[in-house]
Assembly symmetry: C2
Homo-oligomer: 589 residues x 2
């Protein structure tokens, strides 16, 4: 069983009404940047181009074989660099562990050459940026940010955007060199379509997948990945626990066009039988190398949670709610020692730098309730994150900072402002925040409210919260609900920030709406399937039938009104009459 | 067919895990204020009391007969006032119109004595407030605001709340006298359980119901009302169009424990055969009287849309998107005259004051897209609303101001600030706002983001937007989705504003969560049915079965962890271990 079942057709092929296109920056045909294109029925309208994270899975004639993996679009760029070749065999340590488990699952058979950087030679995007070198990855990401076209000036949003009118490769380089942005791109992940994360770029979103102890299979996880990026996830974190973690991650990486993030402490805990007290630096170090060689693009490291912070959580309503945080707190108290992640952070950086694995400094003490928001424990850890950010930068590593959590709306702003101040403006990456504790089952909404607010304030990436948060593991529908809610929050923030590529899509949808071009409105929307289904089917018979049942109304794509209001009450239709009457406009009186 | 089918059982009876209770202010047993009470399994926990808008429908042994209507809880208070008795027959004018329609539907047979106020004698809550008189309605609303208990001081939220530690009847009176709040309570709506709308009270939400041309029946509409208030709608607007509007509204009012709002211009348009050009002051005036005598608590009047404003919409992307606004704009241009609603506004106030029908000044020129937000047309109309607010106040009427619409997040704050400045701090009542145009099918989310933001800024009431907005008429599930999203937005704002009654519920849910009291967490949540269902069923067999299918995980209410993370990775469980280890806390190093 070295192969996986073919992907279900419903998760493959173009999204309704659109087609996959590739665009290259002027004079660089070797760089093919993917976009999604929607042709609009009104030929006076421009073709709409959307940012596209879905990889080859949304090509019209996509032939997908998980066992072969995705085309290694970066291999020439990586191959041209001065790296050590490690061959193609999986790391012995990891294989042993995997074989040790009850039901053995082999990794993805797709050929995978592993490499490592050398001391004194640039490996990370940060090192290249600091050396003044613009990498193909930076060119790719820049072309992507402005949807492949010479960008327009930011819309007048009534605020000082601070964003450039055009996102150039040189601008991307400067942001990375300044530490304000990261371009997560492990040299062992050639299948990656590069993207950039930072306050001066489009707000990005992450979706979590992963097996649990009694969890799902590798096939389930790869399909969750394909599903999450279909709806717009910019990065995916594999939070798998339980058996076969290494092999499952292998299948995910070889089939991932987006950056993959992990939390190595989870697998380290598996290796010591699930007892936090038995964790040790050697076990963690091996795990880190294992992830780095497989191609993980960023790892969450809970090194900022120090022994002295733990007592600060003593009077909390919900204590410690981060898995990694609780594991390390337990270790510190059991051993009466400082966290080995904190003490060995320079060694951690040295390892990760050699593969260009970006660091995501975990917020192990993030608040788990409104009551605990912005407390001493949370901000003490954030201060340590600032200290470690500088260590990571010194080592040549790219780094971002993880944030809350549960925060009431009036305390959201302080979080991003303080993170910027303490961590030298390194990209902020938040989980929500959830803005009230009272709505389990609806936390994609409670957190989309906080996410839009914190992203508008300058947060670079948002981690999706699904409706199942606090209640259970998300299924496919939950993953989509979370991703869509966060695409909305991210876009709302891009609009408010005045990103040059944001407003065009809203205006295209609104023009279609006002012109009663129903299919255009659906195709231009964030989820054409749902928009079309909600509008209902056509045909007079259906109208009567459905209205008798009191269901949603219906209208054909041709009608100059819809049965929401009917012809008499259609404001937009009357508004068109008003414009006709207006050929001789009434002068202000 | 003078009766309606009995209500479906699923919309009756207590919400899961709670019971209906009534509480009276000290020494006033005749005032019985409804609340929802949740008993928590941990006896060290206080009983949780929630604000309850659902009326008798959620009583354990509710016997509901729509034909009899609800008990007239206000009749003694109204009877004691100096009013003219108009008898019990429906207004001839209206009956004629209704009889004229193809399929005649009689009104609700429940006895309904109609009254009218007299000149020079106080009728409206504003007039009583200005006279220094605290009405039973004010006492009722005050007791409701602080959940029937002596309120606690606002939580330290890091902001200046400006809210009192206790909401007293005298405070309610002062806010109404100042025009900062309204207490919509038509003297012909004795079934009403009074509530107050204003920036210094809990944020309220309105849900829309109503038939369309090919629409649903009276039974459907009353059931939509019962369903909407079950999930927390504070007021309900009947936007019915088509035949039998009068009779349907009759059934709704006699069975409504919440304030009912209408848009009289819709029915006036029916009376002139659906042609805006045929509208006239006499037809509108009759309709207004008809609504007032039936017991409508507030009416939307689009009097602030002046002829001179219409040309300002000429270059808009989505023109005029308000039904009432487009109707009046059409009338102004066709007749080349100023709006009769503007010219007759003093007469309108005189009519409405006599029944204490509150005025909701419509925003006929609200933006229908991000592109049109905060434009000249919108703010010109708002300025006229300010002018008319003072006219209404002079006449003794209560008034609130309607607001947008579609607004990007960075332009939300200006809307509420300007409305306050121009309209003397009269309550602001907004539709959303929707913060991006790209997500038809998800506008309960795009607008909940804007709604939380604008309510935090001081908006008093939020009009629910359902997922079907822009696409079709909402069905029962859509209505619930909209109401829940808005209950969340309103509560998020109450938390951020530091309302004294807001934080307790979040903390109760969080304590239950941290203590693994699953049933308590569900019962305390905003939608116990959904929370419980999302968490999944119990039993080891089920676990295996469901996990094999990759569905959401499961756990019994007893487990000190859930299968989201399993025992090894349960942060909260480890956090409890940490606390045990902490009996001798580690000193800061």
């Amino acid at each position: 069983m070295a192969s996986l079942p073919c992907p279900a057709s419903r998760i493959l092929g173009p999204i309704g009404g659109s087609r996959k296109v590739y665009s290259s920056p002027p004079g660089q045909p070797e760089i093919r940047v993917p976009f999604r294109e929607v042709a609009v029925s009104d030929n006076r309208e421009p073709v709409a181009t959307f940012y596209d994270t879905s990889g080859p899975y949304t090509e019209a004639d996509a032939v997908i074989d998980y066992a072969k993996g995705l085309p290694p679009v970066r291999s020439d760029w990586i191959g041209a660099r001065d790296l050590v070749d490690l061959g193609t065999a999986g790391p012995a340590a990891a294989e042993t562990v995997v074989r040790g488990t009850s039901d053995y699952l082999p990794g993805c058979p797709a050929p995978h050459r592993r490499r490592r950087g050398q001391p004194g030679r640039p490996v990370t995007q940060r090192e290249f940026a600091l050396a003044g070198i613009v990498t193909p990855e930076m060119v790719f990401a820049a072309h992507r940010e402005t949807l492949g076209r010479a960008s327009r000036a930011p819309e007048a949003t009534g605020i000082e955007t601070g964003l450039p009118a055009e996102i150039t490769p040189e601008f991307v380089r400067r942001e990375i060199a300044a530490g304000r942005a990261i371009l997560p791109a492990n040299i062992n992940h050639p299948e990656l379509e590069p993207m950039v994360i930072g306050r001066n770029f489009l707000v990005k979103i992450n979706a979590n997948i992963g097996t649990s102890a009694v969890g799902s299979t590798a096939a389930d996880e790869v399909e969750k990945l394909v599903w999450a990026i279909r709806w717009g996830a910019d990065t995916v974190m594999d939070l798998s626990t339980g058996p076969n973690i290494h092999a499952i991650r292998d299948w995910i990486l070889r089939n991932a066009p987006v950056p993959i993030g992990t939390v190595p402490i989870y697998q380290a805990l598996e290796k010591v039988g699930g007892d936090p007290v038995k964790l040790s630096w050697p076990v963690f170090k091996d795990t880190l190398v294992e992830h780095a060689e497989q191609g993980v693009d960023y790892v969450t490291i809970h090194a900022a949670l120090r022994r002295a912070h733990v007592p600060l959580t003593g009077r909390r309503v919900t204590g410690i709610v981060s898995r990694g945080g609780s594991i390390m707190a337990r270790w510190c108290l059991a051993h009466g020692r400082e966290s080995f992640l904190y003490e060995r952070f320079d060694e951690i950086c040295e390892i990760l730098r050699a593969y260009d694995v970006s660091i995501s400094l975990g917020d192990g003490l993030r608040p788990g309730s409104i009551a605990d928001a912005n407390d001493a424990a949370q901000f003490a850890e954030l201060e340590t994150s600032g200290e470690l950010t500088r260590v990571a930068w010194e080592s040549g590593c790219q780094v971002m900072i993880e944030g809350p959590g549960h925060v009431p709306l009036d305390k959201v702003g302080v979080n991003v402002d303080r993170a910027r101040a303490l961590c030298g403006d390194a990209p902020f990456y938040t989980l929500g925040p959830i803005t009230t504790d009272i709505a389990p089952g609806y936390d994609h909404i409670t957190s989309a409210i906080g996410a839009a607010q914190i992203a508008w304030g300058g947060t670079a990436m948002l981690c999706c919260v699904t409706p199942k948060e606090h209640l259970g593991l998300p299924d496919r529908d939950d993953v989509k609900a979370g991703v869509i809610a966060y695409k909305i929050a991210a876009h709302v923030a891009d609009l408010a920030k005045g990103h040059p590529a944001a407003r065009a899509r809203d205006d295209a949808v609104s023009r279609a709406r006002f012109a009663f071009r129903w299919d255009d409105q659906f195709n231009l929307s964030i989820d054409p399937d749902t928009a079309r289904a909600s509008h209902g089917k056509s045909g007079a018979d259906t109208v009567v039938a459905e209205d008798k049942r009191g269901l949603s109304p219906v209208s054909s794509a041709a009608e100059p009104f819809c049965s929401m209001c009917g012809p008499t009450y259609c404001a937009m239709r009357i508004s068109h009459d008003v414009r006709k009457t207006e050929t001789d406009p009434v002068p202000p009186m």
